[in-house]
Assembly symmetry: C2
Amino acid sequence: MSMSAIELQGKNAKQASRALAKLGSQKRDAALRAIASALLSDTASILEANAIDMQRGKENGMRDSLLDRLLLTKERIAAIAQGVSEIVALPDPLGRSDYEATRPNGLRISARRVPLGVVAIIYESRPNVTVDAAALCLKSGNAVILRGGKEAYNSSAALTEVMRRALRDTGLPEDCVSLVSDTTRESVGELMNLTGFVDLLIPRGGAGLIKHVCENAKVPVVQTGVGNCHVYVESTADFDMAAEIIFNAKCSRPSVCNAAETLLVDAKIAAEFLPRAKKLLDTKHTELRGCPETLKILPDARPAEPSDWEAEFYDYILAVKVVSGLEEATEHIAKYGSGHSEAIVTNSYDAARRFTDEIDAAAVYVNASTRFTDGGEFGLGAELGISTQKTHARGPMGVEQLTSLKYVVYGSGQIR
Amino acid sequence: MSMSAIELQGKNAKQASRALAKLGSQKRDAALRAIASALLSDTASILEANAIDMQRGKENGMRDSLLDRLLLTKERIAAIAQGVSEIVALPDPLGRSDYEATRPNGLRISARRVPLGVVAIIYESRPNVTVDAAALCLKSGNAVILRGGKEAYNSSAALTEVMRRALRDTGLPEDCVSLVSDTTRESVGELMNLTGFVDLLIPRGGAGLIKHVCENAKVPVVQTGVGNCHVYVESTADFDMAAEIIFNAKCSRPSVCNAAETLLVDAKIAAEFLPRAKKLLDTKHTELRGCPETLKILPDARPAEPSDWEAEFYDYILAVKVVSGLEEATEHIAKYGSGHSEAIVTNSYDAARRFTDEIDAAAVYVNASTRFTDGGEFGLGAELGISTQKTHARGPMGVEQLTSLKYVVYGSGQIR
């Protein structure tokens, strides 16, 4: 049976990953530095490829916000190269041992950090992800298979070619980084089933795609970026602080996964608080979709549909629900939350303690915006996304989360 | 739509897990101590249930080794209770934080260890696993759904009832521990798809079942216990040490996953070493299945079939292959190994370094038997099995590997 193009790509990536795993961080970092300089010296060819994608996007009537996401400029490429340099500066995630023991029988055991092997990433039409993802994988000693969106294909292919050339120039196998040339749904299906070649698959993009991949992949998957986040304003909250936090969580960047989608307000303070919050939210023309109690206080709000509690709006839209107290708030979050980021605004020590104990999410906030869930903001360095699952990795997926471990045991003839 | 029995069980376990997650280790440990004493005081009822399983097993012509695995005695129940007490004595896996930082903006971040939630375990007809698995889950704050083999159903049901009563007596929800009453393949399928209720599924037992579950489950899975382990005797090995190691790795307990299945011998020493190893292996009437080179040295050995390199014999059978050196040995292991435990016997520093660097397995040994891959032997405490996958957990799956983390962020009104 002959191999498909993607199987062959998987096999080559696996082989490259074995060579890569033997290298120390000096060589991995040297390759990353070469990638950063090649991005700068080859900017012209990258911009040329990007112009083709932009042209097609315009012809196909792509929305302005998506066109902007697709656009590369000299400055943006410089920023991407700068991002690579920042990844070089991170500590080597393979450079430490998690556990060391000398056992009573003399066996010396250490749990050495090792790369996963081959990481595959399915992502939307953002050319910068092509480089960010590859750099994070190389830093952690992994080969990467990139499967980007078709609208950005020419840009991603140009960026990949620049990276592969830099790998060759520094003596690393070029198959440490490769791009899937088939941008149909079929290649997603193939990647999902590439057992033996793909050690971890990270799907990004729409919630439907992510769910489909998580439920049907045969290879291990980490789910990232599904964010139905809540801000709960408890009865003892400082109203100004609470209004600033919900405004920031909703409106500072509605298109990202750590933006808030639902405001929960304690019934005791709803009549006083909601109009104050609305004033701020109105400055961004935020559409409010309220429960019946909310509508009594804010008659202009649109009645919330049941589906609004589940929605990630990615827009200036906020669902609003009046709750009887902490218990109803935590139950609502348990029912509708996606396990990403949840916040309480309160002055009650007990409420803060109960909320942080009981809410089951990657990040739980007291008196701060959900927008801080980010590897950089947490002090963990660059990341590939926010994992909302509880196994393997939860929260920011940085270079450490792209590693596994291996117990190395040194003996002198021990038998059991 | 009404819920199936297993869905309802999942829902109840999820609810119980929420209550359990709020408890400190004092209460979890008290419940475990109550379970240990209840096992001792209720021994009679457990033995009665076990007698029914034993009777049926005999009627159905169950093999002696399986009957022995099924049998409970007063002493064995005492040993199970003792195992629970040892799990109580382990450090609380939820009692520490993986990461603490105060950020420049004043946010205080800590990565708190939290339970996974609900762990489901599919296991063979070993009544002791019913208690071991439940105790490890409770210690780590998880509710557990047990799905044991049908041959041990009465025993497992009696043990589960004893544990549930102990939970009630110490004020914990009894649904922290429950047994699936449907022992057909159908319940495996239902558990695999219990998204929203099951946070981690651990299949144990036959390789076919494990592969089926890993490839088809919608819930997260950890693969344990698939062990095609190798011992490679390099040309500089001490022959006596090497013979003792392969004899121990193969014959000390052939039915377990860390037993060796294939011996790889360097061509330079094969003619001298193989007859010496055979002498020891003969004391257990070990059947050797050799490559053509092996057969030239050991004409009595049976010719190895291609499938022998892939087999887990679980028996006194050993595949033997002569290799040209370290490179062929590591390639053979990369091709056929299951990523469990691999050993080299050598006096060459360089060979030891290359083998430990290049072999991709949960445990890699120099000059020691593969049989040491075990939580207790590694000094990590009791475990549910040996994970052979690279994501989430690799190697012994102890209480720590049954946890996740949650970033708790304390602010004073920070916005981004």
